[in-house]
Amino acid sequence: MSAFDQDRLAELIATLPPAPEAWVRAAQELPYARETLDGLVARAEADAEFRRALIADLESALQAEGVEPIEPIVSELRRRFADS
């Protein structure tokens, strides 16, 4: 490692600003989102009424199930049911 003067250190610290909080949060919620998504899709495949409710009003149907309608879940469900 070469020696660093303070200006160089300052420059390098500034090179890594934080990513937008919402991006980080969405990536952190990935395990929860995947797990939740799998459960919802399985249920929608087995329960026609639940499927209709999801398609009609996704956010409300999720909230009724006690599922937080976070972006990764909502967008993925919209994508999966887009052709329904």
Partner: protein, 190 residues
């Protein structure tokens, strides 16, 4: 926070299903991925976000394929670069006003600097919390002395000298370390 936990340890814990470890891993590499996309490839914000989410989705899905837990950083770097290139090939890139015909390519100097910055960030993790926080707020978050003073409940007049002392500590930390390769890439099963 997980400053004292190595990235390799976080990977091992993620494999065991530890969701907090996953959150810490994302936190650990979020700036790195963001910087590669925005500085190294000059992606527009919404394209950078697509790449950012795709990187972490693939890391999550394929963590079991990583040959060595220590390889997580070069793997993430390689994956991010590849996805940025894919995004550029799909036609999205911030316009460079003084050279609109510039070829689509990574800024290698910027990417090297991002890698070097990650090494500095790792060294910062070894500093006391207050030092790490003050350096991050001032240089990375661009906060004013007053904002930092209010946030950390410190006299505003002491911020400049604290920054200077913390930079000196950081320098000592770096000088105490063995030479570290900062090159990314070269791995794996992305």
């Amino acid at each position: 926070m997980s400053e004292t936990v190595s990235a390799a340890e976080l990977v091992a814990r993620c494999r065991a299903g530890d969701q907090q470890a996953w959150a810490d891993l994302v936190e650990r590499f979020s700036r790195y991925v963001y910087a590669i996309a925005v500085q190294g490839f000059r992606l527009r914000e919404h394209d950078a976000e697509d790449v950012f989410q795709e990187v972490f989705a693939r890391v999550y899905e394929r963590l079991d394929t990583l040959r060595s837990d220590e390889a997580i950083q070069p793997w993430i770097a390689q994956l991010t670069r590849r996805l940025c290139i894919d995004k550029l090939r799909s036609g999205s890139r911030e316009e460079v006003t003084d050279d609109p015909d510039a070829p689509i390519a990574a800024d290698d100097d910027a990417l090297a600097k991002v890698d070097e910055a990650l090494t500095i960030r790792e060294a910062m993790d070894a500093l006391p919390d207050n030092c790490r926080d003050i350096l991050d707020r001032f240089f990375a978050r661009d906060e004013s002395y007053r904002t930092i003073a209010e946030a950390l409940d410190l006299p505003a007049g002491t911020i400049a000298s604290r920054i200077s002392r913390c930079l000196a500590k950081l320098r000592e930390e770096l000088e105490g370390r063995n030479p570290v390769s900062t090159q990314s890439g070269g791995q794996v099963n992305a």
